[in-house]
């Protein structure tokens, strides 16, 4: 393996590549994102900088003092007490204990709590339980403490919810009916997001996280945007993080708009502008990792989207670097070598505000 550099594929498999192969992948990944989002690719200098980060022989890499980032999470504390399905390690801790361990033992910048299903819909019938636990825990925490979940509009479709399922309607050619079902589901979702947000605000909630917005498509993204706007207009002070589900908004509906802008097909540098206009305080970029490509390819692709997003944004941008996003391999135990390289590259080249 002399003269080869150890890196990984998007599924986590270790591979030895030559410097030329890595540089080729960096250029190709950047070009792929630039072509799709119609944004500039990484410059030659940035590509060289990324190569240096990837080729660093150390197992873990980091930034220089003064370049540290803020970290927010999407139910990260659940990883202490949940099982493999949630990336959890199964330690028998209560939610409050997990939050305090994360804050104090892990030195977290922020922390959060959410329903174990990590969706807003199931919170509604147990809202008083959630308010009580949030309130009690907020007396103990020192760092910003969020209540978060995914909008997850899929839960409003049959058989789990009241609306006809577009996944059944569309293959039958019932496009109009599928769109109507999504519009109805979006109304239900928005109502629930606002309901939960206002209830949590009444117990002194320090911030909300609408995580993975748009997972069920553009109508899901729209419901989150409208809920952010309504909460921001109706409450004196409620910090909100809105994170996306993918590098482009899936056009499951195809025609819904926010402030006159069609959401379907919107890439991060445009997503951030509608998120900003809705009133959110932080935008979370999500870029899917392609498991058939290398980490250099995926990371260059992520950086190309992110760089333009940060340049365009007037609010802080935090990039998702969990399992299978942001260039991190799609696996349940993201490797330190890759996570640290992704984080460093996003800080140094992406100029992000947080992870």
């Amino acid at each position: 393996m002399k003269d080869k550099i150890l890196t990984r594929m998007g599924d986590g498999e270790r591979v030895w590549l030559s410097a030329a192969e890595i540089k080729e992948d960096i250029a190709a990944g950047a070009e792929d994102a630039a072509r799709r989002a119609k944004v500039p690719p990484l410059s030659a200098e940035e590509q060289e900088q990324l190569f240096d980060i990837i080729a660093d022989p150390s197992r873990a890499v980091s930034v220089s003092p003064g370049e540290e980032l803020i970290v927010t999470d999407d139910g990260g504390t659940m990883s202490f007490y949940t099982c493999q399905d949630g990336g959890g390690v199964g330690v028998p801790l209560s939610r409050m204990q997990a939050i305090l361990v994360y804050e104090r033992a892990c030195g977290a910048d922020t922390t959060s709590m959410g329903h174990s299903d990590y969706s807003f819909k199931p919170v509604k019938p147990i809202i008083n339980f959630e308010m009580n636990e949030y309130y009690t825990t907020s007396m103990m925490t020192t760092v910003p403490f969020f209540y978060g979940a995914q909008p997850n509009m899929g839960l409003y479709y049959q058989p789990d919810g009241p609306c006809p399922n577009p996944a059944d309607l569309m293959p039958a050619g019932k496009i109009k009916e599928a769109r109507e079902a999504q519009e109805r589901a979006a109304e239900y979702l928005k109502k629930d997001l606002v309901f939960v947000g206002k209830k949590m605000a009444s117990v002194g909630c320090e911030g909300l996280n609408f995580d993975t917005s748009g997972s069920a498509g553009d109508a899901d993204f729209l419901a989150a945007l409208e809920a952010v706007r309504e909460l921001k207009q109706g409450l004196d002070h409620m910090p909100i993080i809105m994170g996306s589900a993918n590098e482009f908004v899936l056009g499951m509906h195809g025609a819904v708009t926010f402030d006159g802008q069609r959401l379907a097909g919107m890439y991060p540098h445009r997503q951030v502008k509608v998120v900003e206009a809705a009133g959110a305080d932080v935008f979370g970029v999500a870029v899917g990792t392609n498991t058939n490509e290398t980490v250099p390819w995926n990371l260059a692709r992520t950086l190309t989207y992110v760089k333009e997003t940060v340049k365009t944004a007037n609010i802080p941008v935090h990039v998702n670097v969990g399992m299978g996003v942001g260039g991190v391999p799609m696996m349940e135990s993201p490797p330190l070598d890759t996570v640290s390289r992704v984080s460093k590259a996003l800080a140094k080249i992406g100029k992000i505000d947080g992870l």
């Binding site: 003064g66 007396m139 020192t142 002194g204």
Partner: protein, 83 residues
């Protein structure tokens, strides 16, 4: 810095400068444990280790809100209950 990002939509560099100014330290010292341990204790904004009787949780957040001149909802609610 996270409080400034979420309360005033500050980008990272601006948030670091704002907090450093409020604390009276250089930006580089914000992550210098040797400086921040003592400073956090002096200001009553919470320290990493648990020292009996030292401010943490809501007490530390009251001080953070005052120091950074930002609203923190849990603090606002708590203070309203003291009246």
């Amino acid at each position: 810095m996270a409080w400034m990002q979420i309360s005033r939509r500050m980008k990272l560099d601006e948030a670091k400068k704002y907090v450093a100014k409020k604390l009276g330290v250089d930006v580089l010292d914000l992550t210098n444990e040797e400086v921040m341990r003592r400073l956090r204790e002096d200001l009553g904004i919470g320290i990493i280790t648990s020292a009996a009787g030292s401010p943490k949780g809501i007490r530390a957040k009251i001080k953070i809100a005052e120091l950074l001149e930002i609203p923190i909802n849990s603090v606002t609610l708590f203070n309203s209950q003291l009246k």
